[in-house]
């Protein structure tokens, strides 16, 4: 076991897979010589050389489409988006090519790509740099998307993503890159489609993904200390595929749910979670499913307001008290 950062965990996953499979190649802007805009790929160029670690020009549609094309021949590109907010520049490639080429060919082709990068707000970078598009990705059959919230899951899910023969998109977070956690030294993976109970509880289920999981864990501490409410925190980890069983079992146990996400409310991930809870655990609910999403406007710049716009522990606590 080692205590390493989320950033290091991602890097270790890539190092292990680069060693394991010669078809894996890392492509992105500033990933090689600059050592990564957020240092996730720091040192990789030195270790693996320019064939395996490739600096792309600022052309998301170009290099991501190129990666998709190469993957049809068996290359396994792991492509970095400096911010997932830049995905829309390449949206045609990401949705119309990566997601659809297998289907439209009647199953003759598969696209074993990974696209990874930070998907988060909260850093004062404004509306065009703060997107969390896991909900858009999850709405697209043919794609998979995961949101690790800690170093252990970051490494395990990244390795699964790279080994997966379908397109898997990994939503990281600049805010979590420095978070430290225990990670095994030996080879392990975290399967897609498996949620985790991050904190066991009996009175209410707090269900979240990505940075919102940390918000819920903080809220759970406050709820216990100040209100004697024992909250269970469910970390989705994987959005598509989705672990419905863990979600439903939690709500069956606690009878109440508050969903927390950085997505905006309309058709965010939690809209889907809310649907499935009322559909599969209706008789177990003692209150309507509640939801905390980001406040429904483009990401505001002004730092104190940006903090208010995103889910916070005190807002989660307040919402819990409304239904408990």
């Amino acid at each position: 076991m080692s205590e390493i950062s989320y950033r290091q965990a991602l890097k270790n996953a890539m190092i292990e897979e680069l060693k394991r499979d010669e078809n894996v190649v890392i492509i992105g802007e500033e990933v090689a010589e600059y050592n990564g805009a957020y240092k996730v790929t720091e040192g990789l160029l030195k270790q693996f050389g320019p064939k395996r670690i490739v600096d792309a020009p600022i052309s998301e549609a170009g290099f991501i489409g190129m990666g998709i094309g190469a993957s049809m021949l068996g290359i396994r590109p792991v492509m970095e988006l400096m911010f997932w907010s830049f995905a829309y520049v390449a949206w045609d490639q990401i949705i119309n090519n990566a997601a659809s080429v297998r289907y439209m060919s009647g199953g003759k082709i598969n696209v074993p790509i990974v696209i990874r990068g930070p998907a988060n707000g909260g850093t004062g970078v404004g509306a065009t740099h703060s997107h969390t598009p896991e909900n858009f990705i999850a709405n697209t059959p043919g794609l998979k998307v995961v949101c690790p919230s800690n170093p252990y899951d970051a490494k395990g899910l990244m390795k699964s993503a790279i080994r997966d023969n379908d397109p898997v998109y990994v939503m990281e977070s600049t805010i979590m890159y420095n978070d430290v956690g225990e990670v095994p030294d030996e080879d392990y993976t975290v399967p897609l489609g498996k949620a985790k109970v991050a904190r066991e509880g009996t009175d209410i289920s707090l269900i979240a993904h990505g940075p919102s999981v940390l918000v819920c864990l903080e809220a759970a501490e406050v709820l216990k200390a100040e209100h004697n409410i024992d909250a269970e925190v469910v970390d989705l980890r994987s959005i598509r595929p989705l672990d419905e069983e863990t979600i439903v079992n939690s709500v069956k146990k606690t009878n109440r749910a508050v969903l927390v996400e950085e997505n905006k409310p309309f058709c965010g991930v939690d809209a889907q979670i809310a649907y499935l809870i009322q559909n599969q655990a209706f008789d177990y609910l003692d209150a309507p499913v509640q939801r905390i999403s980001a406040i429904d406007a483009p990401a505001i710049y002004s730092p104190p307001l940006e903090k208010i716009q995103l889910p916070k522990a005190n807002v989660v606590v307040k919402k819990v008290l409304e239904i408990c």
Binding site: A61, M66, G69, A70, M72, G74, N165
Partner: protein, 371 residues
Amino acid sequence: MTKTTDTKKSARTKPTKANLAQEAKTPANAKLTSEELIGFYREMVRIRRFEERSLRAYQQGKIAGFLHLYIGQESIAVGCVSLMEENDHVITAYRDHGHALAVGMSMDECMAELFGKATGCSKGKGGSMHYFDPSKNYWGGHGIVAGQTPLGAGLAYGLKYQGKKGCALCFLGDGAVNQGAFHESLNIAALWDLPVVYIIENNGYSMGTSQERSSAHPEEGIAARANGYNINWAKINGESLFDIREGVKKAMDLARDKSKPSLLEIHTYRYQGHSIADANHKKYRSKEEIDDYRKNHDPIILYREYLLESKLLDDDGIKEIDLAAKEEAEKSAAFAEKSEFPVEEDILKDVYWEEDNPDQKQSEGRIFFND
């Protein structure tokens, strides 16, 4: 659709008239056997007869959606594919029936795909714009204009990465040259020395908009934009199968041997509309222009004349090839007609590799969300 008061011809310059007898002697063509030479004619005729049969089927309501016919452009697919070797790959846009037949896909599977049947090359899931056959190094069949151009760079990148000596032929129309993704692809191809040959099948019109109304380019033409990326480029007369082979071979050799990209512009024409749904193709083009290309610049007619003049084939031989092609196309329509449609359960297949290969599945959880 804006109403144009004048039927402008496209501003592209017409190449000098082809002289197939001369062009047959160029290095790429001089050593062709009579069997090969006749074979090219057969392939072009097969494509045209297939397209004509599918047009009829569309008018009979057997085919849904769009149908982008290749009639008039057959020399390009046949000429280029005839140059392909083991490690060469091809990708194109939605006017893809010609390329599919040229690489060796069957009329049966192609027609069945148009009819939406389970026996189609994409099991009925793709339709006209999405023919694929990886076993023949053929990667589609793509509906978004220029969407395939980064993929073409990717095929070249993959070949180079794997240390294979080969090239990617990436076809596009004159309508695609203004898309951003195409420019990104050119830059990447030049920057990284990718062995990709971009081939613009310039039929003068991006849907209803002539080249003059859509594209800003140097005097020499749209392919001259390659100068901006320091990419090798050339213009080719599409009415001559030999010219196509000679010009494209140079670019393919450059890609295979030196790993350098090229941008080729092949002058061609389509007699039908952009798609069969295009009701305006005789409005945005003049009757004189369409007739001129049909009578004086048809690649099949010109090639047939060459075969007859050089006594490689006589009138009976020509008739035989034509009849065989018509019969083959008719047979494929009958095959398509009597084939079954996919069943409802098929809708959820071929979405994820993992779901289609359950014995190797690693993921858990739910992947499809209908109730």
